[in-house]
Subunit: 353 residues, 2 copies
Amino acid sequence: MASMPTVTDVALAAGVSRQTVSNVMNSPGIVRADTRERVQAAIAQLGYRPHASARRLRTRRSSTIGIRLDPMIDGISGSVLDRFLHALTEQADKQGLRVLLFTATSPEDEITQLQRLNDGADVDGFVLTSTFAGDPRTKWLIENGISFVTFGRPWGTNDMNDPQHLWVDVDGWAGLHEATRAAQDGGARRIGYIGWPSPSGTGEDRRRGWRDAMLERGDVTEDDLALLEVVCEDGVAQGTAAMQELRRTAGTLDAVLCASDSLALGAMIANPERVPVTGYDNTPVAAAIGLSSVDQSVDEVAAGVLELLTGEFSGHVQGAPESDEPRHRMVKPRLVVREFAAIPMDVPGRATA
Amino acid sequence: MASMPTVTDVALAAGVSRQTVSNVMNSPGIVRADTRERVQAAIAQLGYRPHASARRLRTRRSSTIGIRLDPMIDGISGSVLDRFLHALTEQADKQGLRVLLFTATSPEDEITQLQRLNDGADVDGFVLTSTFAGDPRTKWLIENGISFVTFGRPWGTNDMNDPQHLWVDVDGWAGLHEATRAAQDGGARRIGYIGWPSPSGTGEDRRRGWRDAMLERGDVTEDDLALLEVVCEDGVAQGTAAMQELRRTAGTLDAVLCASDSLALGAMIANPERVPVTGYDNTPVAAAIGLSSVDQSVDEVAAGVLELLTGEFSGHVQGAPESDEPRHRMVKPRLVVREFAAIPMDVPGRATA
DNA sequence: AAAAAACATTTGATCGATCAAATAAAATCA
DNA sequence: TGATTTTATTTGATCGATCAAATGTTTTTT
């Protein structure tokens, strides 16, 4: 296999100069139409492909974004990040961007990695996931003037409309609000909620979606609402325990909403009356079991992240021009309703004869 | 922020030439100890980081491996590939290799992507997953002399010991054999198996592990064995149906092994007698539910892939020197035994009072 | 002690592309 | 028509590192 042709080879074949070839690829507008066609023909004929590293060396940009691959802490919910990663890779590809992975063992280690990739001109910017209040990574990136966008709003100090950095997030409030409404429209009055303990920005956001929808409708009193809510850490076993408690405290239960699919799966297990359970994240498990779930629309999140990273702010807030362009994207999740009966709960009493 | 220092800056600071700095980084052995230390001190002091693209342009290698991110077809089992991806990224990092992602919509499209990344000198080689018999990708890569290793042995035509390409795989036979032995050692005699229909190299491999272990022990006859086996497509619902059938045909059942965690989860649902069920892949779901499962040791697979990719064959078989070095790695999975009782199967009859 | 060999370091060229500035060609104006 | 602007294309320099070969040092050999 002969070595790859270069711009010079193409230029020679098309009877033009190197730079014209370069222009055809980068600013086709300034090249006369007939010249352009001639060059494009030569490119096609020789099978020319630009050498990515050479271009990066000269332009000082890599057309690559870095993202940390999390060590699946919670395996079930972790799949949201995987889906996001897939969507991001796919859409980045369409814009000529590449996605480079890295791993880290701690936020501090992650900063070391960020620095390494940035200094080595390996990436133009980063996408941060699983951010938390007082995250040292965002602080470091801002201080060093590096482009980045987070998947997850800055919980805590910042005003949402004047953030220190660009972000995209999913509106958990709207998701739970919609799920509650859907249950109510289906005739449910007493709708329970299994959520996470404080402090959890995400958890509180989702919880309020349920709470607000319940109070708006006015089917239950505030006091009653307290009995319809159980708080526990995330996990299947925890969900089962929470469901058992809910059935004890709540009295009648027409439906149950959960802050995650893990909890929902757990709740399902202690659910002999087949009370409709709705989860969050629309993970494969929910699909397999036939649980309704709130889907995070990772495609829209990925699109938003790329827009902010390559758009007007190009990944920065500091030093960016005055602009009315919003500095974040709030993505509305969508409720996926499933037929609950999909899971044949076989029990001793009715075991196959 | 001042622009990054270059080799020349370091050379100036250390009072040596560019090349010596380069040598300190790439062949430290040929630099005298005291010079080396002086250079290293300058590197540390200036915070020098080599410019990855410049290096790649000159050396004509990218220190990057490409891997396609699959569009999670089967969400549950898909997590094995995610874990593999994580392990690969982590270990590649330690060797100074980066992992670049890409997506594709079909094997043909994937070939286009492979070509693009290879021609653009973006990657040195590829890791292929989810290979199948007659895979056009392996054919294309071999024809074009591009480095690659597959996760998955070449099912079908090739002799395992004289393959056309390098591969790493997990020994499904050994996994099921061990799982069967473990059940037998626990006193089980009649051990059922829920597997996949032919033709499936992987499925047949696992099935034989169970079959061989059963016959070796001689607790059941060949005829009996046929009654202990059910075949169905992968999926939770399918697993449930298969379990119901197994309970009908098998008579007594001391344990059930499944070809996947999806099937195992399904089997669990139709399992009022709490017959021990073992899955395959050790997915988060298995962990959450408390199922025993065969773990694919993705760390070892990742290590094997990198060894083959960077080792003696450097990702090629064709044109490689005669060598006794094995051209594949067969990784032994390990059985993860879990307490079955972890899942509180609440049923109407014994619902909380 | 001079010659040869081994080791250590430096210099100039190069990888493939794009930038910035210079030149050539075409279009517009006086 | 000749001067001026606009548009199209080319040339030389450069990004930051490593290669190949040359030069300078030290060690070994005879």
